[in-house]
């Protein structure tokens, strides 16, 4: 175990202890550090800004409710993403959504100007990439988002997605290849 890992481990234990003790500034620090990435993960998974916003709040509410039972086997970062992903899977089971956000934005939604996605929609490449992600399944999308947006290692992703790291590497490569093909397809069409 390296020095950095040990320091991080001690830091994580301190954070967890402070959360259990109910120290507000630590709660605020955790929100500050993780809320944007949790929101992005849920946004690209659900393809729905308001749903992603609601679910982000639900993730933190669930986390605070479960903080006494969290033993710290994973980092707070991994733990929060696992809650988010499980929440997404549960939501997907409840409601099979067919609509995609790109279509909704195209309908001239009056709130679109304030929509956080409108920024990337002005970038042609990013818009194309976002559109191409529609063709990925939930697991492929989750793997790419956790790895490239959040910078999670395959080992941490394995804790969230309940798949061996080797399988996740393979899924990542397959999803990238699929995405590349779709981007080319969209560029041509």
């Amino acid at each position: 175990m390296g020095v950095e890992t040990r320091v991080r481990g001690r830091s994580e234990r301190r954070i967890l202890k402070a959360l259990r003790e109910g120290r507000r500034e630590v709660y605020e620090g955790v929100i500050e550090t993780h809320y944007a990435s949790i929101y992005r993960l849920l946004l690209f998974l659900t393809r729905d800004t308001s749903l992603a916003e609601d679910m982000t709040q639900e993730v933190f509410a669930s986390a605070w409710a479960a903080i006494q039972g969290f033993r710290g086997e994973a980092t707070v970062k991994t733990w929060l993403r696992r809650i988010a992903y499980n929440l997404f899977v549960d939501t997907q089971r409840r409601r099979k959504r067919d609509e995609v956000l790109v279509d909704r934005l195209g309908e001239g939604d009056p709130g679109a100007a304030a929509d956080p996605l409108s920024r990337i929609m002005t970038d042609e490449h990013l818009a194309r990439m976002y559109g191409a992600m529609d063709d990925l399944d939930d697991e492929e999308r989750a793997v790419l988002l956790l790895h490239y947006l959040d910078g999670l290692s395959y080992r941490d992703m394995a804790r969230i997605l309940h798949q061996p790291p080797g399988t996740l590497k393979w899924i990542t490569h397959r999803a990238l290849e699929k995405l590349r093909t779709r981007v080319i397809g969209k560029a041509e069409s």
């Binding site: 259990r20 605020e28 709040q57 956080p116 490449h125 990013l126 790419l144």
Partner: protein
């Protein structure tokens, strides 16, 4: 690198895809979301510590202690548990055989048969 031209389709490499994926992190959360999250921090996190809520079962030491307590309790119960019937000699003295002899001795028969005979009619 561009993907706009059909002639450049080979330019869409996996590295380009990876780069664009990372760029998706430019999406910012809606304004007000952080404030809502901060407002939803549980009340007890505002410095109010409830000791019985923060207690948690210690993992290894707790289970080892529980196991030791169970073993000790079982030992005490075993030591103090009642045994089967006693086989000591003193019990034999007062056993049923002794009672029979006593009963024979004080039986309802004539107190002295030999005396009866000697004073008989014959």
């Amino acid at each position: 690198m561009s993907v706009d031209s059909r002639n450049e389709r080979d330019d869409v490499s996996l590295e380009w895809v990876e780069h664009q994926l990372r760029a998706l992190s430019a999406v910012e959360p809606p304004r007000g979301l952080k404030e809502e999250l901060l407002a939803a921090v549980p009340r007890r996190a505002a410095g109010e510590v409830l000791p019985w809520r923060i207690w948690r079962w210690p993992t290894a030491a707790g289970w080892a202690g529980l196991a030791a307590a169970i073993v000790l309790l079982c030992g005490i119960l075993w030591i103090h548990s009642p045994r089967g019937p006693s086989v000591s000699p003193s019990a034999d003295v007062n056993a049923s055989l002794g009672q029979v002899l006593a009963a024979d001795y004080n039986s309802v028969r004539p107190p002295d048969i030999n005396a009866l005979d000697s004073n008989g009619l014959y």
